[in-house]
Symmetry: C2
Subunit: 497 residues, 2 copies
């Protein structure tokens, strides 16, 4: 990968001075076209070896652009806030919205590469490969969501790096930049090179390519990055909108045997008489209170998803959970239509931003499953987009699991008749009328389509790590107790480990 970046590329001053003015005005034009069209975000990654002028180049680039529409994220060591959330959280929250350029100086590559190259003993290639795989999946999602992803790797040969760092150390004005670099560092050069070559080779794709920049000459570096950025932005702005491929599967089709589905097999007659309900409720709420007060809970977090038919009793069930938990550690996030800011980001962004810190619990009243439920049924996205969402959602929940987050997902199911009864009740009782809208009646007409989507959703996204629990909710008492009991059992199993 690095052969071309060891040739001593350089640009003389006259050429540089002649090219920069046009380049700058072209860059600004492209930037404004991007801003006005809000067609896509630009995700620009900067990585590479020490002393290769990454920071200077980013500075030059941002000085040429309109700073209002560029966000530079100099991501160093993660903060406490960040350490207490899944690994990718800090990057998700820094993703630029459509119309903007986000520069990541330090990125999702930094730690995997450093860890692999600095580790004592043999390089743990299998571990690195796992990270690489996660990165490829993440960047594919970014591309599928429309982001223009450009990755610049600043390279110096071993000799060039040695020379450069010596120079920087000599000059009192630049010494600080290389203060952490000692002789050991050079000993590790070969391994760093091997690790980064493998990483780059496996993560350089047509839609998220690496561009290797030789870091010796300032003018060359700056022109290289600016011209590649300009070209890529212009090409993407001019590109025709690409249609989505047809998925191989046709989940919209009727089931071969529709008499038995995950939903039809639920016994909605399950009931809990009030006296027993009250006893059980007390028992499980008490247990949940105890569990969330355990010391071990402070190194864990909980994410709970509530989905269900309209009027299935999600709100009431959620209240039974929250009332058992210290109000300072629990938060309920109701999911309605996305805000403008949310729409300008990949669809999972609005959920990533809500993930709890250690020792906390977030309850999603409706969730990221909207993509494979309402968006699928109503045709708000293409079949290709909701089909790929299953995989992206699994990745998302795997990230949470990997971080130690307990993920519990509940589908509250009621019968069509029970829903009608509750709708009517809501219309009749004045203080419940706000709960029922035209949309609820419209959704009801698509009962079967929603049912198919629910069955597919459970089949594709239920796993030991993040299981779905189907809750028979015609009887609210039964539903609430089942949810609380399931939660306690999941938490207990995890905290006991």
């Amino acid at each position: 990968m690095f052969e071309d970046a060891e040739l001593g590329h350089a640009i003389d001053k006259a050429t540089f001075d002649a090219r920069v003015p046009t380049l700058r005005s072209d860059l600004l034009d492209a930037q404004f076209a991007l801003k006005d069209s809000r067609a896509f975000p630009v995700v620009l990654l900067v990585g590479g070896v020490e002393g290769s002028g990454r920071g200077e180049t980013v500075n030059a680039l941002t000085s040429w652009l309109d700073p209002r529409h560029v966000e530079v994220n100099g991501l160093g060591d993660p903060s406490d806030e960040e350490l207490e959330r899944p690994r990718m959280w800090r990057f998700w929250r820094a993703l630029p919205p459509k119309g903007k350029i986000g520069v990541f100086f330090g990125s999702w590559y930094t730690y995997p590469i450093l860890q692999a190259s600095l580790a004592k003993g043999k390089v743990r290639w299998a571990k690195l490969d796992k990270r690489i795989d996660e990165i490829v999946r993440f960047e594919r999602m970014l591309s599928e969501e429309g982001a223009l992803v450009l990755k610049f790797w600043f390279h110096l040969s071993k000799n060039a790096q040695h020379k450069r760092i010596k120079e920087l150390k000599k000059d009192p004005h630049t010494r600080w930049r290389v203060s952490g670099i000692d002789e050991d560092y050079f000993d590790r050069y070969d391994r760093f090179r091997e690790v980064s070559e493998r990483t780059l080779r496996h993560t350089s794709t047509a839609l998220a390519p690496w561009l290797v920049v030789e870091g010796v000459d300032r003018r060359y570096r700056e022109l290289f990055v600016a011209e590649e950025l300009l070209r890529a932005m212009k090409a993407r702005l001019a590109a025709p909108k690409v249609a989505r491929p047809t998925p191989a599967r046709s989940s919209d089709a009727p089931e071969v045997d529709s008499r038995r589905t995950l939903l039809s097999e639920l016994d909605l007659k399950k009931k809990l008489p009030k006296p027993r309900y009250e006893k059980e409720l007390e028992k499980w709420q008490g247990q949940l209170a105890m569990l969330t007060r355990q010391k071990r809970f402070r190194d864990r977090s909980v994410v709970i998803v509530f989905e269900g038919n309209d009027a299935a009793g999600k709100g009431g069930t959620i209240r039974r959970v929250t009332s058992a938990v210290d109000a300072r550690i629990v938060r309920v996030v109701p999911i309605a239509a996305p805000t403008d800011e949310e729409k300008a980001h990949p669809y999972l962004w609005r959920f990533w931003r809500q993930l709890p810190r250690h020792g906390n619990m977030t309850i999603f009243d409706r969730s990221w499953y909207g993509r494979v439920l309402v968006e699928r049924v109503e045709g708000f996205c293409t079949p290709y987009d909701w089909e790929r969402a299953y995989g992206e959602i699994n990745d998302f929940e795997d990230d949470m699991f990997g971080h130690g987050t307990v993920v519990a997902k509940f589908w509250l199911a009621i019968s069509k008749e029970e829903q009608l009864r509750r709708f009517k009740e809501r219309e009749e009782v004045s203080f419940k009328a706000f709960k029922i809208t035209e949309e609820d009646w419209r959704n009801r007409k698509k009962w079967d389509a929603y049912g198919d989507a629910v069955c597919d959703m459970v089949a594709r996204t239920s796993s030991a790590r993040a299981p779905w629990t189907m809750v028979e909710a015609n009887d609210k008492y039964h539903a609430r107790v089942k949810v609380l009991k399931t939660l306690c059992q999941r938490l207990e199993a995890v905290l006991e480990k």
Copy 2:
């Protein structure tokens, strides 16, 4: 993943008999439309638990289709031939051409899943994940190349499997089918389920989805598979041709510093006087002969790629290699325009089929790099397609490396002036005239575009595992000796390990 496939799905005889006749004629219609359009191949995978009726279903399906256009690959244990080639070779050679349906009963999933679930001690998840990653990349390539990939997983719950196998064992007509299954097998059920759930979850994508079939009822299984296949074929046949996305990188653009490239930095003046050439040639040919006769060579294979400017002397160099090696173990594969059969497969297929067995050497006179050289420069494929080829080629060569194949790649470079001299000489000398065509003169006009493509190719696909060697070839003597010497050194390093 398996919840829906444990509900006891079944189809009664009347329903089945009513549906099958139409289904069969629809299937045949779709099959003929596919055959006539030759639009894409169908790759249909069948996997799942023992006793779930996979074989019977495949038999039923093929009896409903026109057998001339279905290929059923019952892949069990690999043959000697197959074991001596990279892991994926046996699957590549079984890939169906466009217009046909290839059924894989036993596939690239079989061994990863069995190995992980049958291993003693803990499941080696990292190893499984690596295989999963390779599979995802392979199937993505298949989809990008146009294949319709459908994967059916036949599932039985633990109880259903137990019952089913007991039944099969009782009946003397079916006993043979489950002869290898003992009580131990059931003990492993849970682990098998865990491993396959993880594998399915991570390999179920929009373009290559898993469809989980409950295996209890014969009629249900058969209808399920046949109807899903029919739907997917019809949907794909009706789908509009999707345009390729615009790659983020624009390799076609001029270099920022074009004065120095990997090619311009070559010292083409390098020369070897004839007397020294003869001595060196003898020396390195002798060494190559020795190395390929070593006992250890029998567990290795060698793949050599020759690319270079027209008239750079590939043929003469290749002859100097082959004349040093036992003719029984070396084969030269000249790559010209693909045959019809080759065009009907993914572009790497024609190279996979030529890979050598252990103890053998294959020399490609031009190669898979055609995609990022001539096809790129001449616009025979879209920028998206040749951009993704870098990654696919890296995967291909990684497969060879992983199998112990030595991969050596040579670019023979001559100057534009030297090429002109050789072209003219070819035109003038009658026995050389066949070597020069109009096409050579046309290619020459695109000298710079080819140069850019070569530099990108080396930068993107040279690695420690499969390095490119740039050969200064204005002087044929120098070129031949450099190639032989490099080959010997590579082989020596590998055989000494």
